[in-house]
Amino acid sequence: MKIHEYQAKAIFARYGLPVPRGYLVLNVEGAAAAATRLAQETGSPVAVVKAQIHAGGRGKGGGVKVAKGGAAEVRDLAQKMLGMQLVTHQTGPGGQKVRRLYVEQGLDIGRELYLGAVIDRDRRRIAFMGSTEGGVEIEKVALEMPDKILTVHVDPTVGLAGYQSRELAFALGLGAKETLPKFVKLMAALYEVVTREDCSLCEINPLVVTRSGDVVALDAKINLDDNAEFRHPEWRELEDKDEEDPVELEAKAAGLNYVSLDGNVGCLVNGAGLAMATMDIIKHFGEKRGVAPANFLDVGGGASQEQVTKAFRMILRSPKVKAIFVNIFGGIMKCDIIANGIIAAAKELGLKVPLVVRLEGTNVELGRKILNESGLAIQAASNMADGAQKVVSAVAA
């Protein structure tokens, strides 16, 4: 789960990790008022207006602007930014609509650094990475200047050790007497944030050193581990539905795994691996004929008839879907439940596109019988490849 910068900074602040002073605003008046308030609080008229969307690269896309002219300029910037489609390398060509702004105090920046924490899957540790190349995409640094990144891995039974923070501090040029203790304290707070808040990613890019020697998180990006939702009831308030694909949200509410794709074949599959493989095989046979998967949909190992109906309904509603491929290898999942779910949805919404069904597993004969007797125009497939070829032909024909 992704959250906004202002939300991540609120979490940082709670753990004593230094962030600039700022206010979330939803309209132009609010932006001007926030600027006035910041000027009073900080004694400086400089403010930064930052678009809040769940994507990186906002600065380059025009989603981060510095205002030196006080509230009037902030108002103008907010006017331009609110409602714009902000396009970054992470949003896709359509961009993401800006609905929330964060108005923040401007800082007198000395240096920009990078600091991030990730789950290192290969080492099975939380890894902290620091780099002197702040403000740049870390993937780019890792690729082009890997020696510019210092990584420390944390033993979960020990926690982040002081020496590890110092190693990072010296590598980042923060070893001076006045910055070292500040950075070590910041690292301790960051480790608490990552572990207690169940972050799967936590990035400060840039981490800045101000001319007065303070170390401050100028940006903040946090991804939360969806698996830990059960112990964080407060996460519900962090969710911003405007940032999510509405169909994916609906799927999540129904307990289904769904990802929208660009193609024209709707897929309904049980199991994540098989669902991905189904997409792959459609592309394998369909690539040269303009046929590709329209979605990833895993109904899970033990879906109910109602869930299958919901899943099928979601596929049927999509205007881009020109044919549907149901691919079930029912281990524990019973084929008759799948068949009944499909029929219920098809009868409700009408089946206007070709439907190819491959059923395998428990109660397969009963499932096939139910589909055969339904009166629906269904092409039965003998295996996965046969099904993929049939559905490709149905679209390409």
Binding site: Q90, I119, R121, D122, R124, R125, I126, I138, E139, A142, D155, P156, T157, T195, D198, S200, D225, D226, N227, A228, F230, R231, N257, V259, L261, V269, N270, G271, A272, G273, L274, A275, M276, A277, T278, M279, D280, I281, I282, K283, H284, F285, A292, P293, F296, D298, G301, F329, G330, G331, I332, E360, G361, T362, N383, M384, A385, A388
Partner: protein, 297 residues
Amino acid sequence: MSVLAGKETRLLVQGITGSAGAFHAKQMIEYGTRIVAGVTPGRGGETFDGRVPVFDTVKQAVRASGANASCIFVPPPGAADAILEALDAGLELVVCITEGIPVTDMLKVRRVLEGLRGRARLIGPNCPGIITPATAAGGCKIGIMPGHIHRPGHVGVVSRSGTLTYEAVGQLTALGVGQSTCIGIGGDPVGGMDFVDVLELFQADADTHGVILIGEIGGGAEERAARFIKEHMTKPVAAFVAGTTAPEGKRMGHAGAIIAGGKGTAAEKIAALQGAGARIAPTPSDMAATLVEMMRG
């Protein structure tokens, strides 16, 4: 012969009185797995299904039943704790089916496993489990896979995905080719046994003559497997990597199936495996055929 699971396995089931635990415990017993105990805290003294004694703690269960392996169906909030309890009780094999365990919990479990230095093995979490198909001498199923699709034989299957494993097994069986042992290592970013750990066992097992390896996007497990295959495997390996069509930055069902920062793509993994001498199935429908072709030379 087989690896890890066999007729010596004396299984206990943690979470045996829950709905999933109870359902699958019955299925396992039906398949021929020797379930000697169940564990549900607070339900000690009960009997499951008229024959399996239930205990409050894993240590009590092990002491009373001589169990040497555990299968875990405990829901996510308590699942990592259940793994730790099984490890602390000295069990050699722990299979965790549970999906949805927080990754920070699993980091701690991994750390404990490292301290045990190979004295215990964890399969999963978020996996279908392990099965050594039934022969006249009996079979052993620890997990949730459909037993009936398996046949005893000489192909080892190792996979990060559940249903895609069933798909491969179904293909093998349809071709008349049996399996020595099939292991689903699970779809989480941090888990127990890795491809390499399983390949090591298959390479050493005289009864396994060839291997199907099923990977997917995310992480570097397939690349590590490729290095192992290149350096240590003399047996044929056919492979499939799911997710060629998966978009970047989206979690594809499994918590671990995500391309992050351009890393973990199917193309990279396929290239690594191919470079190591594994043969890549052109489609997921050809996994068994690809291996059989290799084995026939």
